[in-house]
């Protein structure tokens, strides 16, 4: 099912990239130029369509994100953007090689055709987009500043690309072809407006209030939030939402966090546990009870739902939060299936939810295996990292029969995916979520 839906979406994506390109071949056509010029133009148009569709990949449409998982879709967004920008850059390089006459500057800068000016605007915006996205941390750019710049640069790049095409007007002399590409660009930017304007309007009408602020082990804080004047939403355990604190939902300040509360809560209350990672999160402990916040959600495909003999939950650090939602939900549902939690933490004192996990063992068939990087003296449990050996010691074979959920830092996730491969667990049997996907 996963494969079918992903193939359908990939085919639709290709259709939206290629159909507008081949539509240029319909109707009246200007005389053809040499192969390289025509090839260069084709990858230029395709590159622009791919850049435009980037707005769709990040528009938080549940139908689009569900078969992939939001973290994978953002990963695809990054990978495909490199290809799209590569196509646009190669378009420019081929044009420079094949038609150097087009790049000769006229006597006055005012005489440069505007179609050419916008080519440079689009190209340099795209390069700035990629450089700031790939090396944001190295450049010392704050996440919020980068996010705003990312959106502005993307709109400038796509609009600049369209104006370059219209200004050059080689293939867009037919009014309907021009209208098609203008409509496409408006549609792409409309997807951005949907996320940044339409959705915030809905969020503004459905605010939440912080009902409780709870200090947790591991330098973490739990915010319990209750719907203010509306019934709230239903979520599935393991899903996440975008949280906006101290700002209106129109500001680009939302951050994704997993829900850690039970999906069975009848009052619409949701909880998020947030670890202080030294950025926006270091202000979370200062949130006051009664504070108005906004939630956009639920999102994510990382959720229990498939029947399985045993759920195996593998958490690293604050990656425990979606697992807590699953465990609390299973307990509330009186689910009798065995659950094994492999939980990697730095040390014994920093294990978030340590006491509650012990208490939950009385309410469901839960086994908790703590794996400590820095164990205390006399520790007889697992230490170091979660490896294939740890799986073999604590999980009954055949390992491919269990259903695995993994959430934690990227390095840990890579190691665990490798370990599951060693145990011949098929991809369809495990679900992963990287919590630092943006």
């Amino acid at each position: 099912m996963f494969a079918v839906r992903t193939v359908v979406w990939a085919a639709l994506y290709l259709f939206f990239v290629l159909a507008p390109l081949f539509a240029l071949l319909a109707g009246r056509l200007p005389p053809a130029r040499d192969f390289w010029t025509e090839f260069s133009v084709a990858i230029g148009y395709s590159g622009l369509a791919m850049m435009g569709l980037q707005f769709g990949l990040t528009a938080r449409f549940r139908y689009v994100t569900e078969p992939w998982g939001e973290d994978v879709l953002y990963h695809f967004h990054r990978q495909i953007s490199l290809i799209a920008v590569g196509l646009v850059v190669v378009h420019a390089v081929i044009m420079l090689a094949a038609r150097p006459d087009l790049f000769v500057l006229p006597g006055s800068l005012g005489d440069v055709p505007w179609g050419a000016v916008f080519a440079f605007v689009a190209l340099f915006s795209l390069i700035a987009l990629v450089v700031t996205a790939l090396w944001r941390a190295e450049l010392g750019i704050r996440y919020e500043t980068w996010h705003l710049a990312h959106i502005v640069l993307a709109v400038v790049a796509v609009t600049g690309g369209l104006l370059h095409m219209v200004g050059w007007a080689f293939y867009l002399t037919d009014p309907w072809k021009r209208a098609l590409w203008i409509a496409l660009t408006i549609f792409w930017i409309g997807l951005l407006l949907y996320v940044r304007v339409v959705k915030p309007v809905f969020m503004l009408r459905r605010p939440y209030r912080v009902a409780e602020v709870r200090k947790e082990r591991g330098d973490s804080t739990t915010l319990v939030m209750e719907p203010d004047g509306h019934p709230g939403f239903r979520f599935r355990p393991g899903q996440f939402g975008w949280l906006t604190v101290w700002a209106s939902p129109f500001k680009i300040t939302g951050h994704p966090f997993s829900f850690c509360s039970s999906a069975e809560a009848a009052d619409g209350c949701v909880a998020m546990t947030i670890r202080n990672l030294g950025d926006f999160t270091n202000a979370i402990p200062k949130v006051q009870v009664g504070q108005r916040v906004y939630l956009d959600g639920p999102y994510g495909a990382f959720t229990i739902g498939n029947p399985a003999d045993m759920h195996v939950l593998i958490a690293g650090g604050i990656g425990i939060t979606p697992m807590m939602s699953m465990i609390r939900t299973l307990a509330d549902r009186g689910d009798g299936r065995p659950v094994t939690l492999l939980y990697g933490s730095r040390d014994w004192e920093s294990i978030t939810f340590r006491e509650e996990l012990e208490a939950l063992k009385a309410r469901l068939s839960l086994t908790v295996v703590h794996v400590l990087a820095d164990p205390p003296a006399g520790w007889t449990g697992e230490q170091g990292r979660i490896t294939a050996e740890v799986f073999r010691r604590h999980l009954a074979p055949p390992h491919a029969d269990h259903e695995y959920f993994i959430c934690g830092p990227g390095v840990m996730m890579d190691a665990i995916e490798k370990a599951l491969g060693e145990l011949h667990v098929p991809m369809a049997k495990y679900h992963s979520e990287r919590y630092s996907f943006v």
């Binding site: 290629l18 084709a42 990858i43 998982g69 290809i83 590569g86 196509l87």
Partner: protein, 31 residues
Amino acid sequence: MRRLFANRVAYATGAIVILMAVLFALSRVAS
């Protein structure tokens, strides 16, 4: 692993787009 799958989809998409661009150019030059 899903990220690896997403990588492959991205690379395959790029390859198909380039192939289609070649076809686009060939169809223009041949006409």
